[in-house]
Amino acid sequence: MSEALSAPLAGRGAPAVPHPGPPMIGMAGVTKTFKRRDGGTHLALDTIDLDVAPGEFVSILGPSGCGKSTLLYIVGGFVAPSGGKVTVSGDPVTGPGPDRGPVFQEFALFPWKTVLGNVAYGLREGGLSRRDAEARAGELIERVGLKGYERFYPQALSGGMKQRVAIARTLAYGPKILLMDEPFGALDAHTRIKLQNQLLELWERDRKTVLFVTHAVDEAVFLSDRVAVMSRQPGRIKEVVAIDLPRPRHRDELLLDRRYQRHVIDLERMIEDPPDLAS
C-alpha cells in the first residue's frame, strides 16, 4: 500500500490545507442514532463533517457521552453509521480493514498470546512466515521499549506496558491510519505523559494519519495538528481548532509557551457543558 504517504512538513498545523486528491479520512454528514429502551431514538451523532489530510494528527475532544468514540468506531468500520458516509482515500468504508489500525483504551490484547505473539499476530494474518513476522515484531517491541518482555503474557504487564504492546501490534501490520480511542485514559498521570512523548516520537518518524479521541485538553493540544471539539446531546462538532505549535514538540518547552497555554484555556472553556447538562 501507500507507505510513502508522508505529508510535506510545510503547512502543518493549518486547518485542512487544501490537498490535491481526496482526504485520507472523509466524514460527510455522519449521523448515528440508537434505539432507546422506551422505543424512542437517541441521536448520538448529528451530521458530522470532518476531513483529515494524509499525515495529519487530528484529535476529537469532548466530554464523556458526546459520541466521540462512536465516531471513531464508525471510521474503523466496526459500527455502521445511521446516515452519511465515511471515506478512506476516497473509497467508502464498508467494514474494518488493515488500512486502519485501532488502539483501544482497554488495550484488547489477546491474553492467550505472549507479547511477541500479539505483535506478530497481524503480520501472520497478512501472510508473513512465522520467522519474518517474529523478526519484524521483535523490532517493534524494541522500538516501544519492551525488549526482554517478548515471552511475557499480557496479564503479567502493567497498563502502560500493555498499551505499548497494543500500539506495537497495530503499527506492525502497517496501517496508514491510526485510530486511537482514549488510548492513555486508563493510565496513571506519569505513565500517560511517558506514552504521549513516545507516541509523538513514533509519529514524527512515520507521519501516519492519526485520529485520536480524548477528553483531556492538554493531551489534545500537546499531540495534535488540529483539535475537533465536540458537544453532547446530540454529538456535534462545535469547532475545529488549529494548533499552531512548532514540531518537534517538547513537553517542558510547551508548558511555558504562551500559545500552548492559550490553546488549553480556550479549549477548556469550549468543552465546558452548559450548566443544565453538567453532571
Binding site: G76, F110, W112, E125, A156
Partner: protein, 266 residues
C-alpha cells in the same frame, strides 16, 4: 493476613490435610460398620481386602477398560458438537433464540431415564450407552461455552477484524481461545457427569462394564465387592479430575492469577 496464612501453610505439608481427612473418614466408616452392624454394610478393612480381587482380575479390568472407552467416546463426541454450538449461541442472538428453548426443555430431563427408549432404537450395546453419555455431558459444555463466548470482549474481535480476519475465522481463532478457560469449567463438570451416566447406563443395560460388576455383586449380596467397586469408581473419578486439572493449567496457564510473592519462602 497473608503472612499468617503462609505460616500455617509452612507448618503443614501440602498433602497432609487431605490424607488426614481420608483417614478420619475411613476410621468413622470402620467404627460405624462395627457398632451399628447394619446388614449389607461391610467395614472398611474387609472392603479394602476385597480390592486386590478386583484389580487383579483380568476380566474385571477389561470391563472397567470398556467402561472408560465408552465414557471417552461419549465425552469426545459431546465435545465435538457442544463447543461449536455453545460458541455460536454466545455470539449469535438468532442461534441462541433457536436452540435455547430446546436446551431448557432438555435440561431437567434425567438423561438416564431416556436409556430404555434409546435401547429400543439402538439395542443394549455400546451405541446406546455412548449416546446417553453424550446427552449427559453436552449440556454443561454447551452452557459454559456459551457463557465464555458471550463474555469475550468486543474489542478483541474488532482488533482481529482490523487485521483482516473474517467472521468464521474469528469464532475459531479469537472466541474459542478467549472462552477456553470457561469452556474447560464446563468440561470438568462434564467429566464427572460422564462418569455418573456411564455407571447408570450400565446399571440399566446390564451387559458389561464397571456398573455391571457393581450391580451383579449387589444382586448376589457380595457387599464387599459392591463397596470395593464404588471405591474403584471413585478413585477413577479423582484420577480423571486430577489429570484434567493438569491439562487445564497447561492449556490456560496464561489466564491463571500471577503467584503472589508472599507465598514464596522469605
Amino acid at each position: 493476613m497473608s503472612r499468617a496464612a503462609s505460616r500455617t501453610g509452612a507448618a503443614l505439608r501440602p498433602g497432609l490435610p487431605p490424607f488426614l481427612a481420608c483417614l478420619a473418614l475411613l476410621l468413622a466408616w470402620q467404627i460405624a460398620a462395627r457398632f451399628l452392624a447394619v446388614g449389607g454394610v461391610p467395614d472398611a478393612l474387609s472392603t479394602f481386602r476385597e480390592l486386590p480381587a478386583i484389580i487383579g482380575d483380568r476380566e474385571a479390568l477389561g470391563e472397567i477398560a470398556a467402561s472408560l472407552r465408552r465414557m471417552g467416546a461419549g465425552f469426545g463426541l459431546a465435545l465435538l458438537f457442544s463447543v461449536p454450538l455453545g460458541l455460536l449461541m454466545g455470539r449469535s442472538r438468532l442461534v441462541s433464540a433457536l436452540v435455547n428453548p430446546l436446551l431448557m426443555v432438555g435440561y431437567p430431563v434425567p438423561k438416564a431415564a431416556l436409556m430404555p427408549l434409546i435401547m429400543l432404537w439402538l439395542g443394549v450395546g455400546d451405541a446406546a450407552k455412548i449416546l446417553v453419555i453424550v446427552l449427559g455431558v453436552s449440556l454443561p459444555i454447551i452452557y459454559h461455552s456459551r457463557q465464555g463466548a458471550r463474555a469475550v470482549e468486543e474489542k478483541l474481535l474488532w482488533s482481529a477484524a482490523a487485521m483482516g480476519m473474517s467472521g468464521p475465522a474469528r469464532l475459531a481463532r479469537i472466541v474459542l481461545p478467549a472462552a477456553l478457560p470457561e469452556i474447560l469449567v464446563g468440561c470438568r463438570t462434564g467429566i464427572v457427569l460422564a462418569l455418573i451416566t456411564m455407571i447408570t447406563s450400565e446399571m440399566i443395560a446390564r451387559q458389561t462394564g464397571a456398573g455391571n460388576i457393581l450391580f451383579n455383586a449387589l444382586d448376589m449380596a457380595q457387599y464387599e465387592t459392591v463397596y470395593a467397586m464404588i471405591l474403584v469408581v471413585s478413585a477413577l473419578g479423582i484420577a480423571l479430575d486430577v489429570l484434567f486439572e493438569r491439562l487445564r493449567s497447561g492449556l490456560t496457564g496464561w489466564a491463571e492469577p500471577i503467584p503472589s510473592p508472599a507465598i514464596a519462602p522469605a
